[in-house]
Amino acid sequence: MKKVQFKSNYSQYFFLAPQLLILLIFLYWPIIQTFKDAFTMQDAFGFGSQFAGFDNFLFIFSDPSYFTAFKFTIIYSFVITFITGSIGLLLAVQANKVMHGKSTYKTLLIWPYAIAPAVVGVMANYFFSERYGLLHHLFNNLWGFNWYENVFDAYIYVIIAGSWKQISANFIFFLAGLQAIQKTVIEASIIDCKSNIRRFWTITFPLLMPTTFFLIIINITYAFFDTFGIIDTTTIGAPGSETKTLVYKAYIDGFKGLDLGSAGAQSIMMMIIVLVITIFQFRYIEGKIHYN
């Protein structure tokens, strides 16, 4: 194949410049600042700044609540990924079957996706309020629900709050995935196999693997980063620090506690964690997926 060569006259740099400038200001510069913060010790106003080596990292590793946040973030992202993925898939499969009023179902199921996490949190707050919360009363009648002090109950609270909106995202992508499957494949499989369920697991689901893989990554990043607003408007990390995600902890230490060194170190740790998870996914999971 013949390669097309453009003559360089630097005009490409001109057209790239706005994009690069935005990246520079909103991405690279903050990252550099974060590294600077993580390796220095300074007071809230930025004075007394001195090189601290790995002191900030040692500080967070000697903090038991950091590991609590780590544990919670891992549990939270796995549970959210699983719940939103499976419910989203179920709804997509059902909505795909509907003959009448298809677009109404679709629209209603997609709506929650447009709501900001903080607003979702405030809504969940009403549902779980001890005074007038419907879900609070329901669970309380079932087993004596009290998220103020019971860790398991607090988990339920933030998991329901965090999942609801993300189910919509999963629904949209699964529905699109389902509609992209060629009719002929489905029709051929109907001749070979009568069982709906078996057909789904052997034909439809494998064909949805690229979508699933994509959604797993999206859901994990969502649970890691975007649930910040939900935690802040629901449990604020209580009881203890059991429902603090890593992002929320970095925020509390950095902006409420005014300790930028520790918050910077936490941000870098978070970057490493996300990097490791993503590499793992691309190396070991993606290899098993067939894109066609």
Binding site: M41, F45, G48, D63, S65, E130, Y148, I236, P239, S241
Partner: protein, 435 residues
């Protein structure tokens, strides 16, 4: 022609509006919201109407923490306001920033620009809380509160209790009666502030080493080492299990709501909670916070001053500071001080305000307002009137994180308190490195 006229009209209207812009602007950021925020706006409006030279522009930034974070971010960006409200837990940080030229002490500003002010106008106890080691006033006292006990008198009458408890022993004696009548005996809205910091001040006990940070930079808190404190939380846990004390999470309002709705007999909150409760709950009283008779031997000690002060930030012009000094003078006038005291329930902070209150027999007309001054005005303490410990906002977080597992029985009281000490020691050490 029409076009010309409209341009002319536009220009004229600009000329009129720019009238207000020719005044010297003074920016005041605050961390109160709702009713208390409205009162702040009203104060600024009254000042702006009282003279023509200066204009104070108040901007609410959310909570105390939000305002402090916003002020710091603004300072780092070189865009700080002239005057900012910072709360008690941030006082150590602000006082430490005088040497870096972030904060200008009130008296220092007056000297530098030859402004005639009187720092002694403020009550010594409150002035000293926001003063440096030499007693020079740095922060300007503003909304000074402390924790108080609110009592629902209807509930007490119903169960046949005549006197509100003065001590925790008395409370313990009447709690079962209240519980049997179907009410929550006790709620409180801030475990670190009310049942930690002010537990120590109320019982005349030191909270950290280095004389609460006044003599030396503190390295540790004395939670687990203080027998009375261990005893107190052991009792609180016992009350929680018996239902004498109800915990409704960390949110201030969630703990206050059952009391405001007439479901709880006692609630510990701030002196300033009074404004929002008046007119909602028909028959309540404000009282000093109880103490353990067994700990103090019957003596009562004052609590720390809570709430916030206003801090003057560096980096503005002399003319603006002159305006700010005028505004501070205006706010410190007896009439404004009493107005604020009356509206919000915060303590009167000036000598003139207190004198005026006495002259007009204010406390006979409104006995609610008396408890805060009474409690803060107690004498005989041998500990400092505050604490100078850095990273305190995070230490409060550590306290909360250990109270919850303690109440639900995951960890023992001793373990929870030693966890708090450990967490606090690390944060204090971290802060000491930045000094």
């Amino acid at each position: 022609m029409k076009k010309l006229i409209s341009i002319f009209v536009l220009l004229v209207s600009f000329a009129f509006t720019s009238n207000s812009y020719s005044k010297t602007e003074i920016h005041w950021w605050y961390g109160n919201s709702g009713f208390l925020g409205d009162v702040i706006i009203e104060i600024a409006n009254r000042f702006n109407e009282s003279q023509d030279e200066y204009m104070v522009i108040p901007t609410g930034k959310g909570s105390y923490e939000d305002n402090m974070a916003a002020t710091i971010a603004a300072f780092r960006a070189g865009d700080q306001p002239h005057y900012s409200q910072v709360y008690d837990a941030g006082a150590a940080i602000m006082v430490a920033q005088v040497k870096n030229g972030v904060v200008i002490g009130f008296e220092e500003m007056a000297e530098k620009y030859g402004i005639d002010v009187d720092a002694d106008n403020y009550i010594p106890g409150i002035k000293n809380f926001y003063a440096d080691g030499d007693g020079k006033m740095i922060g300007v006292p503003f909304n000074s509160s402390t924790c108080l006990m609110y009592a629902n008198m209807d509930i007490l009458n119903e169960v046949g209790i005549e006197e509100v408890p003065k001590t925790y022993e008395e409370f313990e004696g009447m709690a079962q009666k209240i519980l049997d009548a179907g009410y929550i005996p006790l709620l409180q809205s801030h475990s670190p502030w009310i049942w930690t910091e002010n537990f120590f001040s109320r019982h005349n006990l030191l909270m950290t080493d280095g004389n609460n940070g006044y003599d030396a930079v503190p390295t540790k808190t004395l939670f687990a080492d203080t027998e009375a404190f261990v005893y107190h939380w052991t009792k609180v846990k016992e009350w929680y299990e018996k239902g004498y004390y109800g915990y409704k999470g960390r949110a201030w309002g969630d703990n206050q709501a059952p009391f405001t709705n007439g479901e709880a007999a006692f609630w510990f909150g701030s002196a300033a909670s009074f404004g929002g409760m008046k007119g909602v709950l028909p028959n309540f009283t404000t009282n000093p916070i109880p103490y353990w008779d067994s700990v103090t031997g019957g003596k009562e000690y004052p609590t720390f001053i809570g709430g916030a002060a206003n801090w003057i930030l560096n980096g503005h012009t002399e003319e603006e500071y002159r305006g700010l000094a005028k505004f501070i003078e205006f706010m410190g006038s007896p009439e404004m001080d009493l107005y604020y005291h009356n509206m919000t329930g915060y303590a009167a902070v000036t000598k003139g305000g207190i004198e005026l209150a006495e002259t007009i027999n204010f406390y006979r007309a409104s006995p609610y307002h008396k408890a805060v001054g009474d409690q803060l005005g107690l004498e005989g303490s041998t500990i400092p009137g505050g604490y100078r410990a850095g990273n305190w906002p995070q230490i409060r977080e550590v306290i909360y994180e250990n109270v919850e597992p303690m109440l639900n029985g995951d960890i023992t009281v001793e373990k929870a308190l030693s966890n708090m000490d450990k967490g606090a020691a690390k944060l204090l050490k971290q802060f000491a490195k930045t000094l």
